[in-house]
Amino acid sequence: MTAPLVRLEDVHKAFARASGPSWRLWRERLRVPVLSGVTFEVEAGGRLALLGANGAGKTTVLKSIATLLTPDSGRVEVCGFDAVRSGRQVRELVSYVLADERSFHWRLTGRQNLEFFADLNGLSKTATRQRIRRLLDRLDLSSAADMGFWQYSTGMKQRLAIARALLVRPRVLLMDEPTRSIDASHAAEAWQLVREEIDAADGCLVLVTHQLQEAFSLCSRVAILADGRVALETTADSLHAVTADLDGFTLTVRSLSSAALAAGQAFPGVREFRLCSQMGDEQVVELWAADATFALGDFLGKLTESGVTVCALQRTTPIQGVLQRLLHAPVPREALA
């Protein structure tokens, strides 16, 4: 069995809620746990997607691997090196695509920015020139290479961040929502490049994303973070099978009765129709349906006939739905009037 390239074992991390009184006991009480025992491994060739709601701790996990954060307890290892004690060795193996698009020098050109980071990574002049040319070409940035970074669009900045992370061919590539502003064709090309680079380095990828399709197409495994832990770790294929034919909606309604809820649940094609929360006289309801057999218009008509006022309807992105379905219990039906 091959040793994992990345291994997290029972990692805990809490942050101070805000700057406050400095005596230690009080500060401890103000600490908010973000990671409460995260454990996972990624082997060579592995591509793991980290999913989770905002604030679930995904970026905290990446920063712990990249040595930007020290866990309160637990162990983070990269190729057997402890990320806290052997930070330098770990940084030689890891590259990190930060979510922050500001992480470049705005007065420099794209090429000059890459040259700067190549120097910090100790690349030779020849290697720098070759890598930059290849990466800019593959990421369709060659024509913009000598433009000032301040002239770049958000998508171009993100592609440049990917290029920066790939300057050194890393064993461990960490990516934090790297394609959220990149158009589909450029994203596809970027992913192809990432696959090639990981394969060439016999490396691995840990990807944070909110785009389920991206996770499915790029990653072999998926881990869902919730309440500071890995709530679910499975193969991308099996999670895809669960979500493939689902269509999700979030409805804000008034006057939802138990009878109306039961009628909704019995409607053809509905997989799940459940109350999520109640605020004043409004209820938020989640609807999951098999997209092949479900007629939304008829469903809304039926709901209105049973005395329910539909105030708002919003399509749920699959990731939200998957997380809610997997991680949150519905409000009991007894809560309804």
Partner: protein, 266 residues
């Protein structure tokens, strides 16, 4: 060295992108020296007992004072400024994920302004020599070099302490400004400390720049008296011990920021 080169190239490129400012900087130096020359003309012919140990020429006295003082501001301020600047622009975390060590990143981040000030120091002396006819002794140039290295070490140590404060507390540090203001008043950049009231003058040996200026003048100015050189060298060497203290403080501050998750916060 590669890290240092990367930062020097980066900062030169950024400075060059503001060409007008880059080019007018040195013109400003010339006009500052010209002003000092006119002030010096006021004292021409009068014999001040406070200037006598330095040869009696006020312009030569002030020229050395100004040139050496050039070093103090960037040496004390630039590391903290570089850290804070990179936190604000969002590049600090990106740099810390590279293979360069955190210490090298902070040190190299502040190197360009120091190098620039060293160039201005030399330029000021050359202008003083060539344009204004100041007489400089060539006999002790090597020792002047040692003085400047020790001065840099003493001030860089304080600069690293200031940078550690920025990393640890996520806010501009207040100490270097106070130190520079005190140095301006007490160290004798534009007047000898001996003109200060006795109880204020007593504080001037507590500042590294006082010893640097004293040594630089005694060694450079043709007619200056050379006294207590060993004392001043010893004092500067003591101040230079702040370098390991600064490096240690920076290491502890980075470790604290990694635990607190505040590396990128400002």
């Amino acid at each position: 060295m590669k890290t240092l080169r990367a930062f020097l190239v980066r900062d030169f490129r950024v400075a060059w992108s503001y060409r007008m400012s880059f080019l007018t900087q040195n013109a400003g130096l010339f006009f500052s020296l010209l002003s000092l020359k006119f002030v010096g003309n006021l004292f021409d012919g009068s014999s001040s007992p406070d200037l006598a140990p330095y040869g009696g020429d006020y312009f030569a006295f002030a020229l050395v004072g100004m040139a050496v003082s050039f070093l103090s501001y960037p040496a004390v301020k630039s590391f903290a400024g570089a850290v804070r600047g990179s936190q604000v622009t969002g590049t600090f975390e990106a740099m810390l994920t590279t293979r360069a060590s955190a210490g090298a990143i902070v040190f190299s981040g502040g190197a360009y302004p120091i190098l620039l000030s060293a160039v201005q120091l030399v330029l000021a002396i050359v202008i003083g020599l060539v344009v204004f006819g100041v007489e400089v002794s060539p006999d002790h140039l090597l020792m002047v070099g040692v003085v400047l290295v020790l001065t840099m070490a003493a001030l860089i140590g304080l600069g690293l302490l200031a940078a550690a404060f920025v990393v640890a507390f996520k806010q501009p540090e207040p100490f270097s400004g106070a130190l520079l203001a005190a140095s301006l008043m007490l160290s004798g950049g534009l007047y000898p400390p001996s003109v200060l009231p006795g109880w204020i003058e007593a504080f001037s040996p507590l500042l590294p720049l006082t010893h640097s200026l004293e040594l630089a003048r005694q060694l450079l100015l043709e007619d200056a008296a050379r006294t207590s050189l060993g004392v001043h060298f010893g004092a500067l060497a003591l101040f230079a011990l702040t370098v390991p203290a600064g490096l240690l403080a920076l290491r502890l501050a980075l470790s604290h920021a990694r635990r607190a998750g505040s590396l990128a916060q400002y």
